[in-house]
Subunit: 664 residues, 2 copies
């Protein structure tokens, strides 16, 4: 970097955005996205400034530079595009630009009728001085300009020379950075592949894909399920843990403390005599079968995501091989997980405070690398908030050094600060509280926080209406319309979303008991045989929604999300749009699963790039109905018994100057 | 500091407040004030935390420690009091507290009826382990507790031992900080004397204090003016520059380009054959006279503040002695100040980009130290935004190292970011835009920004209704009621404020011309003879307001400022209160200088500590009238022809629990 903090260094750079926790953490982008950078930049007195944005890929040794433009109130803005996976860095450099000041003052004095002859000479000196520090042929050019500025006979000639843009470009390149200020931090961008911010996840238990009732299915059976999943339009297929399941304290149906002889146990109870985190549960098949499934899935445009659940059953080989990694009690037993009065005797948490923590960290990293070797590039991480933050930061950084395409999804339904910390330290995507945000006010507040505040710089939300652990009251009570509404909300509010199926598309909504969010006869503890061909399945509806997502680029990001008023508390209305307004989607959802609701939507037309003097067409991509709307207030009516939502593609002439000429 | 960033370090500390620009700049406090520190502090899993605030005066080598308490949502809070002038630093330390966790879990398990015998043993191990790291007799104590915990016969005895508060205190002292997290920054507090935040300034031209018309007065004459100023209740008397005034291009009356033979010139045109910044303008007296005045003023409780205007006339000795400190043009003239089309040929700005900048900086520091030697401790700095920021930061730090009691007031009526930067880098007080904030909305917005946002951590506002450069339109148009209203606003909205007199108390409001904020026949360019005994002078009113300020501690700070609604846009209502609500002041001001205005004030009683079920007295300290008010809505009526404001002292019973018992 150029030297700084000389006494003659006069420029202040502060209030830089984006910057997460004073640069402690990187911002996140995907390949091809722009990074807009703003800062307050100013100097003493009235001298002119020049400001540039410096940026580079970590593989490059030289900064690239892009000019910043002045906005207002000492605020400047610049931008660059990230084109490669991995890490970028950026900072700002600014300096008092004497040449620019000189040109401005010269013009003002000339306009005021002052004598500028001495000013012309001062400018020639400036240019000559710059020439001395300039390499190659440009040095000669600058020297010649200085001479002709001094020797030109007419003042008008001198002024023309002074304001020549070629001269300005040369001077911008070579002069004045001696006492430049470089912002006191380099800031980082982690650049992921597009799927990091735009993805549709489908979670299934691979053991429940058999067509024979009660039968433990295999990876081969899962292959048979791929066309079904692909037809619905999902691009990530996520499996709960696929490792050997422990016997000791195995849980029975509905999480009963003792398992019957045929109870398969919870896949999250990892480890048995057969092996641990690098092994495959034998009933699912072999490692080779798994690799085969990955390949088959890829042919359908589907990536397999697996679960990283760093915990062990008492039967896990680690317990004997690495007793140091567990917490031993005075009675020589290993401390099992507990949250009094609850006991989880089938789970031994790893002791991250062990003396051997380095060894433990390396082994856990080894697990990730092992599955990367098998072809996995997406990991859903179970309960990351129960392992140290520094561990995750290290692990994710280590893995992404060699595999920048890897995606980690944090399953942390915990306190807000903890969730945000995990996102900051490196998780690519994060589960959110979406499942429990049901009213218009809740959804508006929460999605605004996620998509319109600094949070979006580091947290990429993944919206899940259900998971094997979460059957919300809204779904329990609202039946099929509730599932449809929540699907549309998740899929359009969230560029990334997921469902746990086939429970979701079959609208499974029986809770373990009243007041519980657990499923009755939860798949976590038993093998299910889902009738995916049921005529009331939402599979076609889901397929349609996912196709709408793919075909409309405005739904590939959350940053343009904007809520619009509607005079009915049961209907929510929001829009997303591309930067150039060429793709504008307006969604209306009836949040009341029981009654038809209607209301008047108020769109902020100018924000959506719609000419308020022209009618425009809204095309409901779900029903294929088309409506001609006028002005900002329009009527909608949604019958949850049919479809509780409309996803409108807005078709309109992009507003041009000519429109105004025409209509004014 | 204790070692950090071990793999077993599990606590995150972030979102610390107060912290200005990630700790780049200190916060400001005065001696005796508290610093409240908050942060988000959390760890993985469910373990208990202990958090302490570390702080110390820079003269101390050891941290002091005060415990932090948990608020909500992972937010913790602690406090400390600054008792010495100079600089303090603070940070936070937090750790996973296994003993605290153990006690909590033990109780929960016992309550749930679980067997806790192994837990008791685990606790004994913890205590024994802590004992090993404990010095002196406490080691023995801990060892004994461990033994008795193991050997006690009854479970009830064991539980009693486990929950003994003496044990908890010992364990808090000695256990568990091995893997503590210390916040990654030390943050600073600059501690000033109380006058830094509570002061009433009075600005006069010392040459205009004579009783003889047209006569240039001396410091001796100024001594005669001291009783008058003291009677009005001011505690800082600020003089424009008292140095020799240049002859070359001296300005005449009303800033005309040429001075007549008797025109005294502007005091800001510093430097003549007689001397420069370390000299006294001969017509004012000698250095000894000046020191004498300082002493005399001190007897009246008044401190003399002088002006630091770092600029020179063409006659200043520096121009010959240090040509390097100025900017020379190709025609061998020195660059004068200009802002085309305006020229200031009587002013040569210093060239801070000179090669000799270190020498220049030292000389300017020498000027400050010279006047400190004469007894000056308060400096009003002229146009600081036209000198480099780093220069001021260095200068103020250098000076305050030896003289932490020195106060610098920044005269920077410039762009907001620049003003804030000057405050951040060290100025003790700052002029504000108050002069131009006249409507209720403007005043509410601006004073809320100054007193209720992060700005208050580093910027101490000084509110001036007028200065020799600023005669606002509001004062020009509003006459005497406008002067009274603006005085009350400045003196009660601002713990620090000032006026330029006697122009102010004599309600001088004739502008140079329509649309100008310059005074007609400005004192900047001529000697004035003010008739301070005029019967319509506001001096008694000012005296009353200043006495109210002194007697009511709630007016000594701006932090408690709160605006209250009133159903009349011409009346503004606000309150200030002490932390314990023992002193509550409610101010209402009629902003309309022409008409009587009335309205219903709505006070938020609970915030003011007023029992809403009891009547309370409001005592107008200006008129001495007393009113009995009930509930939150009460009527006020203000006739600007009499007094356009009321300053109520609220007298009420402090609300207690018993009140509720009584009235419920």
């Amino acid at each position: 970097m150029i030297k700084d903090r000389d006494g003659r260094n006069r420029v202040i750079i502060e209030g830089l955005k984006p910057e997460v926790d004073a640069g402690r953490f990187p911002i996140k982008r995907t390949v091809g996205e722009k990074v807009f950078v703003e800062a307050d930049i100013f100097t003493d007195s009235h001298d002119a400034l020049s400001c540039v944005l410096l940026y580079r890929n970590d593989d490059e040794s030289q900064w690239r530079e892009s000019p910043m433009e002045f906005l207002v109130n000492d605020r400047w803005r610049g931008e660059f595009t990230v084109t490669e996976l991995g890490q970028y860095r950026y900072t700002i450099q600014a300096w008092v630009d004497h040449f620019k000041s000189w040109r401005q003052v010269l013009l003002k004095k000339f306009d005021a009728g002052h004598d500028v002859s001495t000013d012309i000479l001062a400018g020639a000196d400036l240019i000559e001085e710059a020439g001395k520090q300039t390499p190659g042929s440009d040095a000669k050019k600058l020297k010649e300009v200085a001479i002709s500025l001094r020797s030109a006979k007419e003042l008008s000639d001198k002024l023309r020379i002074a304001h020549d843009e070629g001269l300005a470009a040369l001077m911008a390149k070579y002069s004045g950075r001696e006492y430049a200020t470089t912002y006191n931090k380099e800031l980082f961008v982690v650049v992921d592949r597009p799927k990091a911010s735009f993805s549709a996840w489908y979670e299934i238990f691979p053991r429940s894909c058999s067509t024979e009732p009660g039968h433990h299915s295999t990876f081969k059976d899962c292959e048979g399920r791929l066309p079904y999943i692909a037809a619905m339009g999902f691009d990530v297929l996520y499996f709960p843990p696929i490792h050997p399941i422990g016997q000791t304290h195995r849980k029975g149906k509905n999480n009963t403390p003792t398992a019957g002889p045929n109870d398969p146990g919870s896949p999250w109870a990892i480890g048995s005599a057969e092996g641990g985190h690098k092994d495959i549960h034998a009933q699912l098949g072999t490692l080779e079968d798994f690799r085969g499934l990955i390949t088959k899935a890829a042919n359908y445009g589907i990536e397999i995501a697996i679960d990283l659940a760093f915990q062990c059953t008492p039967d896990h080989p680690y317990v004997k091989e690495h007793p140091d990694w567990f917490h031993w009690r005075p009675d020589r037993s290993v401390q099992y997980a507990e949250n009094p009065p609850k006991k989880y005797e089938d789970i031994y948490p790893l002791n991250f405070e062990t003396e051997k923590w380095r060894e433990l960290w390396e082994e856990l990293k080894g697990i990730v690398l092992f599955w990367i070797d098998q072809g996995v590039r997406i990991f859903r991480v179970d309960n990351p908030h129960t392992k140290p933050f520094h561990f995750w930061e290290w692990l994710i950084k280590e893995v992404k050094k060699d595999y920048p395409e890897v995606i980690f999804l944090a399953e942390a339904f915990t306190r807000p600060k903890v969730m945000y910390q995990l996102a900051k330290l490196g998780f690519t995507q994060s589960y959110t509280y979406f499942a429990w945000r049901n009213t218009k006010w809740e959804l508006t507040q929460y999605l605004t926080e996620l998509s319109q505040t600094e949070v979006r710089e580091y947290l990429r939300p993944s919206l899940w209406p259900n998971t094997p652990d979460i059957l919300t009251e809204y779904l329990q009570m609202g039946g099929r319309p509730a599932f449809m509404a929540r699907l549309v909300l998740a899929a359009t509010l969230g560029a990334s979303y997921g469902i746990y199926g086939p429970a979701f598309e079959l609208c499974e909504n029986r809770p373990k008991e009243f007041g519980s969010e657990e499923y009755l006869d939860s798949e976590k503890y038993e093998i299910k045989n889902w009738d995916i061909s049921r005529p009331d399945s939402l599979k076609d509806f889901i397929a349609r929604v996912n196709r709408i997502r793919r075909e409309n680029p405005s739904l590939h990001s959350d940053w343009s999300l904007r809520f619009h008023p509607i005079d009915n508390e049961q209907i929510i209305c929001y829009s997303k749009q591309t930067e150039d307004c060429s793709n504008v989607i307006v969604v209306v959802v009836n949040l009341d699963p029981h009654h038809t609701q209607a209301g008047w939507v108020e769109l902020s037309l100018s924000d959506l790039g719609i000419n308020h003097r022209m009618p425009y067409q809204v095309h409901d991509l779900l029903s294929d109905a088309r409506y001609l709307w006028h002005g900002h207030r329009n009527y909608v009516e949604l019958n949850p018994g049919i479809v509780p939502a409309q996803i409108f593609r807005v078709r309109h002439r992009v507003r041009t100057e000519r429109d105004f000429d025409y209509f004014m």
